[in-house]
Symmetry: C2
Subunit: 196 residues, 2 copies
DNA sequence: GACGCATATGCGTCAATGTGCATATGCGGT
DNA sequence: ACCGCATATGCACATTGACGCATATGCGTC
């Protein structure tokens, strides 16, 4: 359960509610791990059942009561054990790559617009990383172990986004140069299948 | 169904059996998309049910009969429609990053050995990409649209692996420099939970 | 006052993925 | 004779993920 461990990792920083965790997974951690609130609440229940976290209810008026989750000693141990296991390099699983693999059997134009969108997306994220880096690590050095982890994380993120952005640019250039040779037959058949 | 589309993309090259597809997803396409044979057979059944591929049985003696799958015109159309939709940038979801995020709450030593393993892994893959690039594209240019897609793919793969390898090296250096400050308490409690 | 938005939790369903197991046989090694 | 390996297909179960929907209310705005 990778998401569960990611949640435990977040809770090492400070106790949080499901709602706060969902926001975390939508911003900072979300840069490399996406999870919506339903996924997080479900995982929190599991972690609680296993005794890895403890929920403390905070009564509120006007809003549903909060459940602030704290890591238990068992949870900390579980996280340490998980972190002591070798990680498995994930595969990229980017639709764009599949399209490139079958580039001669599909229409180029949509791929071009897709690449342009992706270029913008990855540039935005790159700027975001750089901004956070400059703000949190103006010296480019980390003081403690926690800081070091986050500094490395941000650097990896920044480089990754820049690399993909550069790739999109290069791919667009190459497609432009090639566009004369391609046989472009637009999709014009009316029917469409649901989403598969 | 992303895997289904990846399979359709593979079948544009030539008709294949499930077994051949499994091998493909373990080598070339497997560099960015992992799928074992069970997943592939299951997906092939679905694609056949939808009429996107057609299976031709080849009787064999000694071995189970082959089922060579060919793209139908409907399958080609479905692939083109899928490829015309915008792609969604995937998240990285690397366990290693989660560990870095909680670096002060876990043991550093296993992370170091993990980083060393990963460094070797990514270097191997990088060399692999470079080797294929040199072999298939000695000039560094593509002749047709299909070639262009594969050239771009290989270049992205090579850069990605190099970047991650560099990152591992840098992280190892940083951890070494930091190692004096870290409080290293080895894991010695006997009990272990199953796998989570 | 109706509408959207933020706060805060959760259920249900289906698709996608991962892991283990089962079947059937020839071929080469020990 | 037995073992492992390659060929070739597939089922069953569990986990993970994506998506929609439901509940409950204060606060600002149109």
């Amino acid at each position: 359960m990778a998401l569960g461990d990611a949640i435990l990792a977040c809770l090492t920083e400070r106790p949080m509610t499901g709602y706060e965790l969902a926001k975390t997974f939508d911003s900072s951690v979300g840069f490399f791990w996406k999870a919506d609130h339903q996924q997080i609440y479900r995982e929190l229940s599991k972690l609680r059942d296993r005794g890895y976290i403890q929920g403390r209810e905070v009564v509120q008026s006007g809003k549903p009561n909060k459940l602030i989750y704290t890591l238990t000693p068992e949870g900390r141990t579980a996280l340490r054990h998980w972190a002591a296991r070798p990680s498995t390099p994930p595969s990229i699983k980017d639709d764009l790559l599949v399209r490139l693999h079958a580039l001669d059997s599909i229409d180029i134009e949509p791929v071009r617009t897709d690449l342009m969108d992706r270029l913008e997306h990855h540039r935005d994220r790159h700027e975001n990383y750089e901004r956070i880096l400059k703000k949190r690590f103006p010296e480019g050095t980390a003081s403690g172990v926690l800081d070091l982890g986050n500094l490395l994380l941000l650097r990896l993120g920044a480089r990754h986004e820049q690399m993909v952005a550069d790739f999109c640019e290069e791919a667009l250039d190459a497609l432009s140069a090639m566009s004369g040779k391609a046989t472009v037959v637009p999709l014009d058949d009316g029917k469409r299948e649901g989403k598969g």
